[in-house]
């Protein structure tokens, strides 16, 4: 009689590991999706860039000349 390596316990563990993997993948997809939606909702991408801590002359509005 062949030795049966696969026990019922293994398939249950596999199911659980797969479930946890899918949940983590889903969580990453949700956070990524939220980020994309929130950035797009800003409308003007420069608003997003303006949060950068470095001075960006290209995105500052021009002051009226004297």
């Amino acid at each position: 009689m062949a030795i049966k390596v696969e026990h019922e316990l293994h398939s249950r563990r596999r199911g659980r590991n797969l479930g946890v993997g899918l949940l983590l993948g889903g969580f990453i997809a949700i956070v990524f999706g939220l980020t994309v939606v929130k950035v797009i909702q800003l409308g003007d991408a420069r608003k997003f860039e303006a949060f950068d801590h470095v001075a960006r002359p290209a995105i500052t509005t021009e002051e009226p000349s004297q």
């Binding site: 316990l9 563990r13 659980r16 479930g19 949700i30 999706g33 939220l34 909702q41």
Partner: protein
């Protein structure tokens, strides 16, 4: 003997056992009512944010279910209806349920805050707290009014859905919550009359057992009467309209008649037809809530063709 008991206690849970901790059937009602609250709100929500919002409400509700099962494992073991739940049957350890409940509560509230706004997150946190602490730990074993007050946690999802979209609490969301809140007692007690429960053995005071069936019948009719102004009042707010009002009037007549039938008879009459009136009242109560919220959704759809509202 030892081997057998070892096998029973070390049984590992499958994914489905963890999912069962979240009370998926309760979750479906929560998802439906929260979704209606979100859709009828006057502010449009980005579909993805709406999806995440509803998901957070569903997970939060599931987390409170897990915390409830952790706390109630001792009485669940005694009652026939609940003895097969994951903890009493030994498939999930109580500590696991507690950990899952707490972690999912935290995740759902924080993610809802990040995705939408602080008010929606606060309402979800309050709902979880109310169900797990106020209802499960305090009211359930101390008063026969447990399901009346505890019903608030089941009534709040449309208010959260509304808050996800608008960031506010309006008269509309208060009335949607009040509708479920007032509907819960006649719905639950009509079931409690015809289902032979063993709450008494578990030390849980249920109105049917503490005050008898006559008092329960009186309460069913009383709450039904109190439900009418809430149901009709909701029709006069900004989310109501002809379709909703026609549905509400018809359902109040139908459910009112069913509750009246339950009220007017005694035990001998109920025994004679195997609790037919009580079973009818329970079924009508399900249709009552489903059709009220469906009518609110229909008003939104009709409004896109300028047919909804007043």
């Amino acid at each position: 003997m030892t081997d057998l008991s070892m096998q029973q206690t070390t049984q590992e849970a499958g994914m489905g056992d963890y999912f069962a901790l979240l009370k998926p059937r309760v979750m479906s009602l929560v998802i439906f009512t929260a979704l209606v609250g979100l859709i009828v709100a006057p502010v449009p929500t980005h579909p993805f944010i709406a999806f995440v919002g509803i998901l957070c409400v569903a997970v939060g509700a599931g987390a409170s279910g897990a915390l409830n099962m952790w706390w109630d494992a001792d009485i669940d073991r005694i009652m026939k209806r609940t003895a097969k739940r994951p903890i009493p049957s030994g498939r999930v350890q109580p500590q696991e349920a507690l950990a899952i409940g707490l972690v999912l509560s935290g995740f759902s509230v924080v993610l809802l805050w990040l995705a939408t706004n602080a008010l929606a997150a606060f309402l979800l946190a309050f709902t979880i707290f109310f169900y797990a602490v106020v209802y499960s730990m305090w009211l359930k074993r101390s008063t026969p009014q447990n399901i009346v007050i505890g019903g608030l946690s089941g009534a709040l999802p449309p208010m959260i859905g509304w808050a996800v979209a608008t960031g506010t609490v309006g008269i509309e969301s208060v009335l949607m919550t009040a509708l479920i809140f007032m509907w819960t007692p006649p719905h639950f007690w009509s079931l409690a009359i015809f289902v032979k429960s063993d709450y008494g053995n578990a030390g849980v005071p249920m109105l049917t057992e503490t005050h008898g069936l006559r008092t329960t019948r009186n309460h069913i009719l009383g709450y039904m009467i109190a439900l009418v102004p809430v149901s009709i009042g909701l029709g006069f707010t900004s989310i109501g309209g002809w379709t909703y009002m026609a549905t509400a009037v018809a359902m109040n007549i139908w459910f009112g008649k069913a509750c009246y039938d339950v009220w007017r008879r005694d035990e001998s009459a109920a025994d004679a037809d195997n609790y037919a009136a009580e079973k009818t009242a329970f079924k009508v109560s399900l249709a009552y809530l489903f059709l009220h919220f469906s009518a609110l959704m229909a008003e939104v759809a009709l409004r896109t063709w300028d047919l909804g509202g007043w």
